[in-house]
Amino acid sequence: MISIVLVLCSIIILCMSGFPAYLFAIHSTKGQVVSSALMLIGAGIGISGVILSIQSGVIVYYNHEWFLPWGSFRICIDPLSCVFLLPVFIVPSVGTLYSLSYWSQRLHPENGKRLGAFYGLLAGGMALVVVAQDAALFIIAWEIMALAAFFASTAEDHNQQVRQAGWVYIVATHIGTLCLFAMFALWKSSTGSFALVNSPFLSRHGCDVLFVLAVIGFGFKAGIIPFHVWLPGAHANAPSHVSAVMSGVMLKMGVYGIIRMTSLLPHVQLWWGGSLLVVGAITGIAGIAIAIGQQDIKRMLAYSSIENIGIIMLGLGLALTGRYYGRNDIVMLGLCGSLLHVWNHSLFKSLLFLNAGAIIHAVHTRDLEQMGGLGKRMPKTAFLFLVGAIAICALPPLNGFVSEWLMYTGFFNYLQVDTEKTFSTVPLGAVALATIGPMAIACFVKAFGTIFLGNCRSENASQAHEADGSLILPMVVLAAGCLFIGLIPVLSLDLIVSAVNVWTPQNTLVSSVNAAESLQWISYLGSGLLMLIGFTAVVFRKKLFTKKESALGTWDCGYALPTSRMQYSSSSFGDTIVKLFRWIVVPSDHDPKISGLFPRKSAFKSVVPDVILDRLVVPVFKLAGYYLPMVRVFQRGQVHLYVLYILVTVIVLLIIGR
């Protein structure tokens, strides 16, 4: 019970954390410090609550009557909530530290307080979403979160792009919320109550509809393709620490919703898992393919988030098929992979977004083509980015690998399941993961290379400076998390396995012994790899890190005057892959013909727009916006026609009423 009290307190503190800043002067940073402190305290309380709840191992409820026409204030902390609560508490509080110098009130007097207030609400709302066990409470928390994210991400609303992105976001999130309305209303009518607990009354058919609504409704928030349209713009245009929270944690609320709903639905169908696998594979591959084509660092990270959501969906789809066949090992591997990836993604993606913030702070642009050579000027940032990049590419020995490993193992185990014909192709999920993997490497090598390596491509980049400690420290915390989970994954497995046990219908206990054994080996090998690298580096240190560098340039194949503009650029690096995947990403190239003896100055530019948003949604909206208002001919100001409408209505109603 005490854990619930702690978590509730923490939610309240988090929600309120931004408001004390309003008591301080407009340029004063003190208010911001107070807010951050409150947030850290709140998160600390919350985490202690979570730890208490994990240790006690009991699922605790709190139920309070509520004077709403329906629903009660019903809160529950079970291991599944705990899994999601941890990133909800950790990432925003790390982000708030970061914001102290990144979005200092002194430099942003106009929107600093507003941003702080909604940032706190966003964190609190997310925490409430995770613990709510009643549809009414859930949806209220959900919308607090969604709206707070809207306000936080449109902090710079004087900028047209920000407004545009905010608009797309709020429309998308509202459509998602309306799907949730439908879902919960249906839930109520099928189960007779709004309580989100297992119900015996659900019919098979009802479950199917609920599942579809959940995937669409929550999919909008999670960013499943084709519901991802809001995601890149909103992430790119929000302040970086907000992007970090949105991408690192808020997307996961969509994932949480789907996981929670599927845990409540008794009749699992085979096609549920199948469709999630297909959706996950498409989301993952298309997401990363588009990410490769991006020239905007934050848009690239946003698409990479979409990719990671795809990966999480693959794991969940696998778990669902496993549940259908009653294969607990597969459920365990798939869902553990998913849940662990939720953690991992929240760590490395927020690390990368915070890093992007530091870079943007230094270079004053988000355009990769304007960067380059920052590794020398900001070595710490570069190293931290490298850590994030390796983690997100799921390379050993960092954390991304562990979660993907679990899913892979699940897919391989599935080979042994005696299945219906069409569903024996489920292991192809492993191939999807294996396709995503190298593409992620391509994407992040490109990013790392164009940002930090080579020569500076612009004036700004050459004048960049290392980020201050308060920007670095939060990143170090996150990077340490990546390394920790990557090297000692077994420690995190216990909580996640108990969450999986909540998810499985009759709470049949799932064991993780086999996986744990293998994970031990992975830790050994990962540490071995690090030690081996360290060993070789030490052996060759004299030769490698000699002080007297020969002041030579890169070998230029005989061309005497290479400039930094001749480096392989971000677009050219990505072009090779983008061309191969043009059927997914549909790039639009600006490629002027070069002709004549003295060709004029010309530039190649490859833009990868969002396939769904720019080629489908926007045109459809434009058409609708053009044709639908045509009904206005009925209202041209002629009063005698208006009177006629009244008469006509009476007649029509008489006819209908007959």
Partner: protein, 309 residues
């Protein structure tokens, strides 16, 4: 007690082969190519000489480069060595084997690729950037192909660890698996050619613009770093050959020591095969390489589909 000694001996042998043998494969390939070209060719052990010589040399660093450039080849080498620990040699168990190690195996290749390409980009040279871009692109096809092959092997053997998976089922293979195995063998062979930069995908002997993949990436590395890169490339070839070996020739003798001999001979055989392939084929046009890799992917995919049909 006795079995433990055997185990230790096996591990030592495994490590020794892993560390010492790879450059030999390159030598064999070169010799084969020379033979086909009617030349005497460089000595069989020339690669060893090269590597030792390189390690004694000093290094030249471009002012553009940073620590990534220096560390990259070592990370590549280390991760490939670890991968080498996971792959069984012939009928012998690998030193380290656990359920799901094949994924680690594949991802260690990814790690090596990450650092090779990052180090290439660190020079700021457009040639090396071009090579890196192509390297990461082609991996997008070779890696799924590899996983298709893994799926087939796992389905056949019922195991998800490299060692038991490679050793096949306890009884004989059933007839139905023959066709899938042949298909994935072809697929993996193409992957092997691509990953170790062999004709028809890449030409290891030139770094002309048209063929710039691997060799272009390492243009700026010199001295020990280049030695490490050459050595790492040979290990990659070795490890992939060991993988291919099991798919192609999954049988063994009853006498233990003969198996070692058999393994070495088989490995050399594969090297000869690669050499022959390099000699009789022309390098593909760059734009056609993806098609070759996609065909490898399709071979493996068909193998899988035949199996689960």
């Amino acid at each position: 007690m006795n079995s433990m000694v055997v185990d230790v001996v096996e591990i030592i042998l495994h490590l020794m082969l892993l560390i010492t043998m790879p450059p030999l494969l390159l030598g064999i390939i070169n010799k084969t190519k020379a033979w086909f070209g009617g030349r005497v060719g460089v000595p069989l052990l020339q690669v060893y000489y090269d590597i030792f010589k390189l390690f004694r040399k000093g290094m030249v660093f471009s002012v553009t480069t940073s620590w990534v450039f220096r560390v990259g080849p070592f990370v590549t080498l280390c991760s490939l060595l670890i991968a080498g620990l996971l792959i069984p040699m012939g009928s012998f168990d690998s030193p380290i084997s656990f359920a799901g190690d094949l994924i680690l195996f594949a991802y260690l290749f990814g790690l090596s690729r990450f650092f090779t390409t990052a180090a290439a980009l660190d020079t700021g040279s457009s040639f090396e950037g071009m090579g890196a871009a192509r390297e990461v692109t082609f991996a997008c096809f070779s890696e799924p192909a590899l996983f298709f092959a893994f799926l087939v092997l796992a389905k056949i053997s019922g195991e998800i660890s490299l060692t038991p998976m490679m050793h096949g089922p306890l009884e004989e293979y059933s007839a139905i698996v023959a066709a899938p195995l042949v298909l994935i063998a072809i697929g993996v062979y193409i992957v092997l050619l691509a990953e170790s930069c062999r004709i028809p995908v890449d030409d290891p002997n030139t770094h002309l613009e048209l063929t710039m993949i691997h060799e272009a990436m390492v243009l700026d590395h010199s001295g020990p770093l280049f030695g490490v890169i050459t050595y790492a490339a040979s290990i990659k070839l070795f490890v992939l050959s060991a993988l291919l070996l099991h798919i192609m020739i999954p049988f063994q003798f009853d006498i233990v020591w003969l198996n070692w001999v058999l393994f070495i001979v088989e490995m050399l055989g594969i090297a000869v095969l690669v050499g022959i392939t390099e000699s009789v084929m022309a390098r593909l046009q760059l734009l056609h390489i993806p098609y070759l890799l996609i065909s490898a992917l399709l071979f493996c995919a068909f193998g899988f589909i035949l199996l689960i049909r």
